[in-house]
Symmetry: C2
Subunit: 169 residues, 2 copies
Amino acid sequence: MSEHAPAPGRVDRESRLAHGDHEALRLWLRLLTCSSLVEASVRSQLRRDFNCTLPRFDLMSQLERHPEGLRMGELSRRMMVTGGNVTGIADQLVKEGLVTREAPPDDRRAFVVKLTPAGRKAFLRMAGAHEAWVARLFAGLPAVERRQLHALLAKLKDSVTASARSEAA
Amino acid sequence: MSEHAPAPGRVDRESRLAHGDHEALRLWLRLLTCSSLVEASVRSQLRRDFNCTLPRFDLMSQLERHPEGLRMGELSRRMMVTGGNVTGIADQLVKEGLVTREAPPDDRRAFVVKLTPAGRKAFLRMAGAHEAWVARLFAGLPAVERRQLHALLAKLKDSVTASARSEAA
DNA sequence: CCGCGATGCTTCAGGGTTAATATATTCACC
DNA sequence: GGTGAATATATTAACCCTGAAGCATCGCGG
């Protein structure tokens, strides 16, 4: 059980671990729990208030930071999903008139995706609410600890990246 | 950009944030990045070595800790997914002979899911490899920092849970 | 005992996701 | 210039996931 006294009736992914289990595993499950909780909250509010999904929001968010547009492959890397996935999400957004898919003159294999004015407007409206939601979810953690957590996660990211890069055995 | 010097060509979900963005948002994106990286690594190895998916592994993992079996609703809560989802995953596992779905005598609406001997055997084989993968992914983080991270994530979990519970505005 | 809200599960539609495969284009090298 | 490897994207099958709707059962208050 957790040393942190869960509320009486609470049951979630972590509860399954007996104390004898190894600590890297427990750390991973706690990380996953936190991530899932935040993601679920944000997704449901995004749906409720804007009838939008998280991946669509994510894609538009990338484009908002790159007014010159991004190629499909760039979107794929930045969103950390496969290329085929981006194709489908972009298709939707094009159909809704929120982004465009233009052929760049220098490479006829590629496509450059850009926000339309309507897309940018819709995104900005969502982004404000989104930031407030996230701030609220993290508000229970003091600023000092948020900074510590941020730094520790940077190290974890390095560890995971290094390990995953040599993923043979 | 990150203060942690990413490798030259690296691009991912976090790179999009300019320094002017607010820190709760950056913390959330870093958390999500870490979680996604670990998840992707584990999923691909689970698939490669055992031809199994993460949700199936997760469900079996719950059952291994509860030899008396779990009801569908319990599985749903522990796995943090909706009930309809569990139905489909359990269906698959029943079809593969790895779990059983029994009707308890006291409640004819419910089903109790249990690992079969074959299911338990298959799970134990995977669990060993799984634990080693996770340990490897987290190995770059010293034990002290792993403990700090674990404690901070406990607080974050509380913060998120408290905030999400009153999710109206 | 009977009605009715709550509970446990399933079904379905709409998306998201991956891995594998296919096609077109570019690039490097000869 | 031509050939072949690498690159950019699209397509598809199979699976995961949610939210909404529906059905059966439970249990409780009258």
